[in-house]
């Protein structure tokens, strides 16, 4: 897998198609999401990420169940989330669910942690929204430990203590899944990602890019501060929202009713205004290529690009056509163009194989320095 990863992320909304008035059943939508993932692999995309929601009109409440199913039907696709709720899920269960998935998927797994955008979810899982940020901090500290230490003694504010606890199965090859931290407004989360040397993801949809630039600049600066590398070596992921047809007028005409009635931004600004003010691109594949290449100018060289293509009631057929266009016309060009001028010391997108190799390399270096020291002592 090359320097950058490209893929799709889905919210998993069940939305009425405004052009037909038809609303898919939950089963249909869930199966559609797996079809979207299969298509992503078929056309050569790298990543499929699903949201996590616990309220209608959304269906994906159990991401590792869905990703396990997809893992069995794919060979190369990296399976991820956007986002996994670090606040309301028990970190012990996250540790186990994703380690399990890692084994089943032969390491093709990472995850993105977030606090979610739905306030009422907290009490549904016995939590208090006023603890939101503290939950994100404590739960991740525990998750991080559970994946790195075989036997954990732990106590904290938000769950029962653990004594001589071993999360099972252990991470594949002893290497935890790579973690991204996703946030659209919280500097503390950028700080958290930087502190651990994890990735930071900005969903880069629905709002002007300037908003996300601030967060990513902060993350990069703090990543360097914590000694994980230079600011330009920080691991950045971005979203994006597109709808394409060969002819850009066709794309605008077809997408407009979906845009006008979409959850979140529908019944607000016009498609044209929203396209100008946010990263949304509705047009030809070439327009999507040009717009996406600009992201590097705004955010620096980055590692992962995910596109939102399946919301607002778009029928599966149109969505699969979007993924075809991404795979056939857009992503090959993006791979080539993004590689040009990319500094050699900017890391590739994280993969399980790369993380294993780095772990082994670090161990080797450590052994070498121990050997040097032993030798020096012997000579001394």
């Amino acid at each position: 897998m090359g320097q950058m990863q490209f893929g799709i992320f889905t919210v998993g909304d069940v939305t009425t198609d405004p052009t037909t008035g038809r609303t898919p059943a939950e089963a249909e939508r869930i199966k559609a999401m797996t079809a979207i993932a299969a298509k992503a692999e078929e056309v050569g995309l790298d990543v499929f990420a699903t949201g996590e929601h616990h309220n209608p009109p959304f269906v994906p409440s159990s991401p590792t169940t869905m990703l396990g199913y997809i893992a069995a039907r794919t060979e190369r696709l990296v399976l991820s989330t956007a986002t996994t709720l670090i606040t309301t899920n028990d970190p012990v269960k996250i540790a186990e669910d994703f380690a399990m998935l890692q084994h089943l998927a032969d390491g093709r797994v990472d995850l993105m942690l977030g606090r979610g955008n739905t306030g009422p979810v907290y009490p549904w899982f016995g939590k208090d929204i006023r603890d939101g940020l503290s939950l994100a901090v404590e739960n991740y500290a525990l998750l991080h430990q559970l994946w790195r230490e075989d036997v954990v003694d732990w106590s904290g504010r938000f769950r029962t203590p653990l004594q001589s606890f071993t999360a099972t199965p252990r991470p594949l090859d002893g290497v935890p899944p790579f973690v991204w931290h996703g946030s659209i407004r919280t500097p503390e989360i950028a700080e958290q990602a930087a502190y651990y040397g994890d990735g930071f993801f900005a969903n880069n949809i629905f709002w002007p890019k300037e908003h996300y630039q601030k967060l990513i600049r902060l993350y990069r600066r703090r990543y360097e501060h914590y000694g994980h590398g230079t600011a330009q070596q920080a691991i950045v992921g971005l979203g994006g929202q597109v709808f394409m047809r060969a002819n850009s007028q066709d794309a605008v005409r077809e997408f407009r009713p979906y845009f006008d009635n979409a959850p979140v931004y529908g019944h607000g600004p016009s498609l044209e205004e929203f396209s100008e003010q946010t990263p949304l691109t509705v047009g030809s594949p070439q327009q999507v290529i040009e717009r996406t290449l600009k992201f590097r100018e705004y955010f620096g060289d980055y590692q992962r690009q995910l596109f939102l293509v399946d919301h607002a009631g778009l029928p599966l057929k149109s969505v699969l056509e979007q993924i075809d266009l991404l795979g056939e016309q857009v992503v090959p060009v993006l791979r080539k163009e993004f590689a040009i001028g990319r500094p050699a010391d900017v890391p590739d997108a994280p993969t399980h194989a790369a993380l294993v190799a780095r772990r082994d390399q670090d161990a080797q270096n450590e052994q070498a320095s121990v050997d040097d020291m032993t030798e020096a002592v012997a000579k001394g």
Binding site: A141, E210, K214
Partner: protein
């Protein structure tokens, strides 16, 4: 928290403290009709502030904003969470101003929805410490206390410095006297203008001028690198961790 150096730098940059610079005043009218008596009152209040400043040897640069022209942008910002370019510029201008005049028609006993919506989409730190002159218009003088019951608490919430004199103009206040400049309304306008100017001239350095975190609406305007999170304000992560186990 700002360092002493930053506060000093802000003070130097503060046009209110630099007699050569004109004072920056934004006058917001929520009048609906064209022409509107709300706009008329807004203009008169701005003129009064300008005259009062002139008496102190200062000039005022007034930017007049008609909210009716931004009505759609304001509605869009409510829905999307961010301001389009035209509205973002006005919000930035208000945040950077030395003073604000805010005038609304009284509808159903209070400020108009458009007027409130404008301040709802504004960063809720933009008016901290900013002198504000409030005004309102209505068909009858019976609604005049809406200034005190509705507008003043709104700007108190936003931590603005509200001039003691608010000016309410009912239809009957306009033109009933042949020489209105010496009438009661004119006297109130002039007094309010002087109060506003007085506050603008001795304004304390404003804190958090519209770039604060936790804004009501996501970062409007164009964020340059100047707009970045201040590293001094970032709580190091170790402190977040330590706070869990006090």
């Amino acid at each position: 928290m700002k360092t002493m150096n930053e506060i000093a730098r802000d003070a130097v940059n503060d046009s209110a403290l630099q007699p050569t610079q004109p004072l920056r005043l934004v006058a917001v009218s929520a009048g609906i009709s064209v022409p509107s008596s709300t706009r008329l009152l807004t203009d008169r209040l701005a003129q009064a502030a300008e005259s009062a400043a002139a008496e102190s040897g200062r000039t005022v640069k007034t930017e007049l904003v008609e909210l009716r022209n931004l009505a759609t942008d304001i509605a869009h910002a409510m829905v999307t969470g961010f301001a389009g370019p035209a509205l973002a510029k006005v919000l930035d201008d208000v945040a950077a101003a030395d003073g604000l005049i805010a005038v609304t028609p009284i509808f159903s006993g209070s400020y108009s929805g458009l007027f409130k919506s404008f301040f709802d989409v504004m960063d809720n730190t933009a008016l901290i410490g900013k002198p504000v002159l409030i005004g309102a218009t209505g068909g009858t003088p019976r609604h005049s206390l809406a200034l005190e019951h509705a507008l003043r608490p709104l700007f108190a919430y936003l931590r603005a410095i509200v001039a003691p004199t608010g000016v309410y103009a009912a239809s009957q206040d306009w033109g009933t006297e042949s020489d209105s400049h010496h009438g009661e309304l004119a006297a109130r306008i002039n007094r309010a203008g002087r109060e506003l100017t007085g506050f603008m001239l001795c304004r304390p350095p404003a804190d958090g001028r519209g770039t604060g975190v936790g804004a009501g609406v996501a970062g409007h305007g164009v964020a340059g690198e100047d707009d970045d999170f201040d590293t001094d304000e970032i709580v190091p992560f170790a402190q977040h961790l330590a706070a869990l186990n006090p």
